[in-house]
């Protein structure tokens, strides 16, 4: 140790620089690690662009996402091909006003894709927040209270955890799809509830495990010793330390929710398409896939467009989630 140093140690320049550098926080470290992960950063940028696309869908999209009226009404029932394709039928020849062509009702595929971003993002994020909220509360209470409260909550969580997710979503959507709840906001409200009802169980388990190990740590004991209340210990000392794994779990919940929505809409029990011209959520990618499947030979972009959009958004979220996991928990590497 340094207590009996008779010889003077001269720090090298490197060491001096190391010492003079301001201390880095845990989050700063994580951000630095994330920034070095190229795939995660590209995904993050792509997702930020998508968020802007979703917010400014109106000004960005070249056409109205709804059904054309007036002059273009005669084009109904014919699929216009993608812009670079020429067809014998002039009504079906590509037109740069409709980059990816139109669907059977004359709706512009590209504009509808842009509007579909809204549904995918909102259906990914809101259930993620609800899921985390329920899961964190249950996990915190269960882990911190212990005893019969823990037993009761965990047995309940076990049962929910074992429920087959997609099967359950289908039942929910079929049962409530026709009710007032199912019709609210094009069925979005029901989707939020459906998609958050099962997946909180894994978050609760995760948080409980974290709490169980954290509450034995010295810093919690110290807080208890100086008389910090139980609630304050839980919220100020334990919760912040569980945030890392919670964020990682959240990043993986989003793509799952997006896919579940697409699957449900593909089965015709997800979002209700809104035909009014100024609808904020006219369609979703899953719904477009359902419609596009009928046109596989006459207008492939009606199917390829939403499928590629879905694939890219899920790849981005999973890559970001992987990056976050590596950044927040370097021990995993």
């Amino acid at each position: 140790m340094t207590t009996t140093s008779s010889t003077k140690v001269v720090p090298s320049d490197d060491e001096l620089e190391l010492l003079s550098r301001p201390p880095r926080s845990l989050w700063g470290d994580a951000w630095r690690r994330l920034r070095r992960n190229k795939l995660a950063m590209i995904s993050l940028i792509y997702l930020i662009i998508l968020v802007f696309v979703a917010i400014f869908a109106g000004p960005i999209s070249p056409q109205s996402p709804g059904r054309p009226t007036g002059m273009e009404l005669r084009e109904r029932g014919t699929f216009r091909q993608a812009a670079w394709i020429t067809d014998a039928d002039p009504r079906r020849t590509g037109d740069w006003r409709f980059v990816l062509g139109t669907d059977s009702a004359g709706g512009d595929i590209f504009s509808r894709l842009i509007y579909g971003t809204r549904v995918s993002l909102i259906v990914g994020f809101i259930p993620m927040i609800l899921t985390l909220l329920i899961g964190v509360i249950v996990g915190l209470i269960s882990g911190f209270a212990g005893g019969w409260v823990d037993d009761l909550l965990m047995r309940f969580t076990d049962v929910v955890f074992a429920l087959p997710g997609l099967l359950f979503f289908i039942i929910m959507q079929t049962a409530f799809g026709a009710t007032a709840l199912g019709k609210a906001f094009n069925g979005l409200l029901l989707l939020f509830i459906t998609l958050s009802i099962v997946s909180w169980a894994s978050v609760a388990r995760l948080v409980r495990g974290q709490v169980l190990s954290l509450k034995e740590k010295e810093f919690v004991e110290a807080a208890r010793a100086v008389g910090v209340s139980r609630t304050a210990i839980l919220i100020k000392h334990i919760l912040p330390n569980t945030l890392g794994p919670i964020i990682v779990a959240g990043a993986f919940i989003v793509p799952n929710a997006i896919i579940s929505e697409a699957v449900l809409s593909y089965l015709g029990i997800g979002i209700t398409p809104d035909l009014s011209p100024n609808a904020p959520f006219p369609t979703s990618w899953g719904n477009m896939i359902l419609l596009g499947q009928g046109a596989i030979n006459s207008q492939p972009w009606a199917l390829a467009g939403p499928a590629i959009a879905l694939a890219s958004i899920t790849i981005a979220f999973v890559a970001l989630g992987d990056g976050l996991r590596d950044a927040l928990d370097p021990r995993e590497q």
Binding site: I171, F176, L267, Q293, A307, F317
Partner: protein, 336 residues
């Protein structure tokens, strides 16, 4: 080990009870009966149909016997009898016997369990195809990329597995159908007869269904092989001059595959539930497609029966995997 086995099997029961209860409650919460949408039925036909399916009975507690003997209504046995004679009671008792009643679509000429028996083998073959693909491609790919770490092969398998994990089989299925029909000019949709017997028709949908699991198996095999590679007993075996194939097969794989077994449970669940979508996309004549049709026409009996069947299957798969896990790794057995 035996106690552990019993406990794991018993744990399925509450799950199935919850699934049955919730499914039933939700189906009853919907407005209108199953025959509303079909066509205009006369009041008498509707009444007869409802009576035939027991839909004229109260949903939870049948109080019919109560009014005659009011004094006795505090008798708990009455409530039990009332419960057993309700719609839910009848459903639960019959479901225990494996009888889910007639489907509404067939107007009573075919029972749900008959439809399951007829259609499930197709889904099972599809799931089998997917599992075989996932294992015979995923495990070797994982082993190779672990043995040739940081080479082109490793990066290639990393890219494949990342895409396989993040892109759901639903989207892959749609893209594959497009690719086959538009670019390669192969008809991706097979006629219904193609699904009898284990034929070539199963290859494409099986691969699409198994892609996610394959990717997961690759990743897991790779990471656990890398871990095993550094173990002392592997170095000892190498020092003794044992042929590298023997080391890989006998010493490394046996330990590296344990984590792979653990994910087979969730993977099987994914394969089973994923089959609804893949079956709809490729028009596979299986139980998944039947389930999707049942949803669309709101055939409650079929929906409830299939849901319970699928839920039981998934729960059973999970238990089976837990047991295999305990069997493979003596350390886990010792702990329980």
């Amino acid at each position: 080990m035996f106690g552990y086995f019993i406990r794991r099997v018993l744990a399925i029961i509450p799950v199935l009870v919850v699934v049955a209860f919730v499914t039933f409650a939700m189906m009853k919460a919907t407005k209108g009966g199953p025959f509303d949408a079909n066509e205009k039925l006369s009041a008498t036909t509707l009444k007869a149909l409802n009576a035939k399916f027991g839909l004229n009975k109260p949903v939870w507690i049948n109080t019919e016997g109560f009014s005659e003997a009011k004094a006795e209504s505090s008798n708990p046995l009455h409530w039990v009898r009332g419960f057993l004679d309700s719609q839910f009671g009848n459903f639960a008792i019959n479901a225990l016997k494996g009888d889910f009643g007639p489907t509404y679509q067939s107007r009573g000429s075919e029972t749900v369990q008959e439809v399951i028996a007829r259609r499930f083998p197709v889904s099972l073959r599809l799931g089998l195809m997917a599992t075989i693909f996932a294992l015979i491609v995923g495990i070797p790919l994982g082993i190779m990329s672990a043995l040739r770490q940081n080479t082109f092969l490793d990066y290639l398998s990393l890219v494949i597995s990342t895409i396989g994990i993040s892109v759901p089989s639903f989207v892959v299925g749609v893209l594959v159908v497009l690719l086959l029909s538009r670019v390669l000019n192969i008809k991706p949709i097979q006629p219904p007869e193609a699904w009898n017997g284990f034929g070539r028709a199963y290859i494409v949908p099986g691969i699409v269904l198994g892609l996610g699991t394959m990717a997961y198996v690759t990743r897991l095999t790779r990471s656990s092989m890398l871990e095993v590679k550094r173990q002392d007993y592997v170095r000892t075996a190498q020092a003794k001059g044992i042929a590298s194939m023997v080391i890989i097969g006998r010493h490394m794989l046996r330990n590296a595959l344990i984590p792979v077994v653990t994910i087979l449970g969730p993977a099987l669940a994914n394969l089973i539930t994923g089959s609804f979508i893949i079956e709809s996309i490729f028009r596979v004549n299986g139980l998944g497609q039947e389930f999707v049709t049942a949803i669309q026409v709101r055939d409650y009996a079929m929906i409830m029966g299939t849901t319970l069947f699928f839920a039981a299957l998934i729960a059973l798969a999970n238990v089976l995997v837990d047991l295999t896990y305990g069997f493979l790794d003596p350390r886990i057995r010792a702990k329980k």
